[in-house]
Subunit: 252 residues, 4 copies
Amino acid sequence: MFSIDLNCDMGESLGAWRMGNDAALMDYVSSINVACGFHAGDASVIRKTVETAIEKDVAIGAHPGFPDLQGFGRREIKMSAEEVFDIVLYQVSAVKGICQAFGGKLHHVKPHGALYNQAAKDASFAAAIAKAVKSIDDNLIFYGLSNSLLISEAEKIGLQTASEVFADRTYQADGSLTPRNEQNALIKDLEKAAAQVLQMVLEQKVTAANDETVSLKAETVCIHGDGEHALEFAKIINAKLKKCDIQIKSVS
Amino acid sequence: MFSIDLNCDMGESLGAWRMGNDAALMDYVSSINVACGFHAGDASVIRKTVETAIEKDVAIGAHPGFPDLQGFGRREIKMSAEEVFDIVLYQVSAVKGICQAFGGKLHHVKPHGALYNQAAKDASFAAAIAKAVKSIDDNLIFYGLSNSLLISEAEKIGLQTASEVFADRTYQADGSLTPRNEQNALIKDLEKAAAQVLQMVLEQKVTAANDETVSLKAETVCIHGDGEHALEFAKIINAKLKKCDIQIKSVS
Amino acid sequence: MFSIDLNCDMGESLGAWRMGNDAALMDYVSSINVACGFHAGDASVIRKTVETAIEKDVAIGAHPGFPDLQGFGRREIKMSAEEVFDIVLYQVSAVKGICQAFGGKLHHVKPHGALYNQAAKDASFAAAIAKAVKSIDDNLIFYGLSNSLLISEAEKIGLQTASEVFADRTYQADGSLTPRNEQNALIKDLEKAAAQVLQMVLEQKVTAANDETVSLKAETVCIHGDGEHALEFAKIINAKLKKCDIQIKSVS
Amino acid sequence: MFSIDLNCDMGESLGAWRMGNDAALMDYVSSINVACGFHAGDASVIRKTVETAIEKDVAIGAHPGFPDLQGFGRREIKMSAEEVFDIVLYQVSAVKGICQAFGGKLHHVKPHGALYNQAAKDASFAAAIAKAVKSIDDNLIFYGLSNSLLISEAEKIGLQTASEVFADRTYQADGSLTPRNEQNALIKDLEKAAAQVLQMVLEQKVTAANDETVSLKAETVCIHGDGEHALEFAKIINAKLKKCDIQIKSVS
């Protein structure tokens, strides 16, 4: 029987600013990535998100990012690998402690935004993040872009990884994501996105933008939580997967 | 045989801004309180401070404060008790995780600045901080102002406490500290400060500003680390205590 | 003929976080108060808000607050009067410069949230804010709570003031606002709120919560921009005022 | 008669953290660049720095940087040109307003750290900064690295510029600065640095690291204010220039 993890970024509100529909979305995903306060989230938002996740029994991950609230962690910052290690260690430790304080358990770590993208193609960044995660708990699962340095660097030091694929992004013939600034980067049609998810989960393949078929490891699918149709989209993906007898459960 | 804990606030640098002489001071105290990034410190400063403390074998505490870099956590902020719980939980978790990542162990928690002062006289604040600490690890020792609500609220929920006294502050007849804005609040004469420390440790008493003698529980003595003569002062206090056969060791 | 100013807080988005429906609301008010980046807003949000306001020809005010993004400037911070002067001078200067860069003109200053509330009852705070405003441009109009120290301290140093009243808040018999934590603090019925506005504008009186009638200077009415029905509310108030031949225009 | 401007970065303290010896250094330079609160400085530090500069009659410049306190504005951030425009407009406006409030006048703008370095080689960044400066006041003088895009982009839109050279940095044969990570990047010998300054001022040439002589426009010399020997260095340079009958005065 097939199974797949559906993950979603959460805890991205900040003080009076609301973002996402976290509690509702938790009913349709198996794992969540909680913003740690550097690019989004704050101590109260994190605590509430963790409490809800424990109640709803979804796997909790930390989602560390660059210290950049205005840029939402989406702007590259040229840090040293040591600084990257330090900010990941700090952020993941904070969220891990909050999980444990409420009887939960931190399950995984997935870097956010520009940190994720920079590390996917920079071995020293990927290694620094992986090392920070391992230093906290070597049972943490490392979520990273499928086929990227994030995965290979984490495996190199013995961390369990989960190869991430995207429901609503198109792929290139070399297996990389189509850059966001290209016109066909996003899949806006829900049916098409759902079909791509099924293809990736069932065949471990994806049809690239140029119609070639590319092999791809798919262990967890990222569902975006901040769009207008995020909840609807999560429901549809969830239903399609179940209809195909694919179990939705966190990576173990 | 008598013993006492000497504690000092550390890790108060921020990026390019240096504060304190941490490594040198660690040779003369038995426990340190590490700023957690909200009022001072950053992820890299905390990590380095923790590494040095493990090397020098001093007991490591977390020193959470208000989110106020410009004010160094010394300006009161009217938060709800729930917000106080959340920011303490976050900060202490971060520092605890960093300690563990380097093979160390978090030993205690001492609130900083305005958070310390507000909680010393506000039961809901004191209770919120104590609850956050207990939720992380009920073996953590809670450092607070001797005779204050910090101590009584922490004891109420079963935390071990350490009653803190100050080497360079004068006391009032009711056992409270002379407010900083009064002229005789600070003891600038090192010999006088050292004599006050000996009196507090050996007799559990202090001679107040009006010459009355006041009873006072003294389990840990705060040494300030950021003044011009901080290192010299720590050396003198340390030497005087040892000369009187008082062992300097962290609370256990 | 009667006239009144309708003002609304704006520019309260931050990076990826949206708040308020600024452009639409500008069609129904005569003046706006732009968050300056300390409690809300950022350099890009301010610039866009100012550009839209110039296009829509509403009077632009600066809306300085405490440096507290997480608390949205709604938590009291115990600063010195000198620090208050400094943060107001900095914030208002920034927004004034942005206005001028786009051919606009800063019209007024209204303190935000906890800074407004603290200064309304603390003469040293009110004086510090007024002094900062005057030091920038003594033609700036100072918006403050009707009957409060904000108004009297600003007048004392020769600033023109605009006494502010609230459409959706109830009043006490002494002319003060019912504290937000009391049950009847907010007027949720749009018709009632509109009626209160008319009473305040036409009679310079308000019926307090205990049914007594209180005198009150009403030169500008605050319309909240961040509620669910904010736009609808602004439209109704605007329409009712016009129906009574009350002109809606900024204070001059 | 020859004349030259000596400029120094100032106002880089933050709350309780002190940096530099601003007041003393002002006696030896003709213009200062005031940090604007994004990478260093805060509203109170800026106001005090401006007050001292007015008293000491040195030309005041704004020194805008990336929003990155921990990195002191020295880490590249990938912003859009529009975001760069916005943060420069905001910061320069704030400092300009503070100058005027105390009867002073903003004289120039010099970008800081990574913003300076990125813009020196990226035309869109340089143009965005120059455009922001011009939109505030087209009489502001634009300080930038000699021979770089900072200067050419500012001149393109009609701003007066001042070509900056460095006293304590070595140059390459192409006129660029030796990158900081190379061994001979810094000139630590005060006499050598002073000699280089004289050569640049008197001959508009510099001897590069490979002993070739390079032409170079030198209108303002940057003196670093944060090193251990900063004050001594400023005194020596100042004295040597005067001895050669070179007048030290701000660009006009």
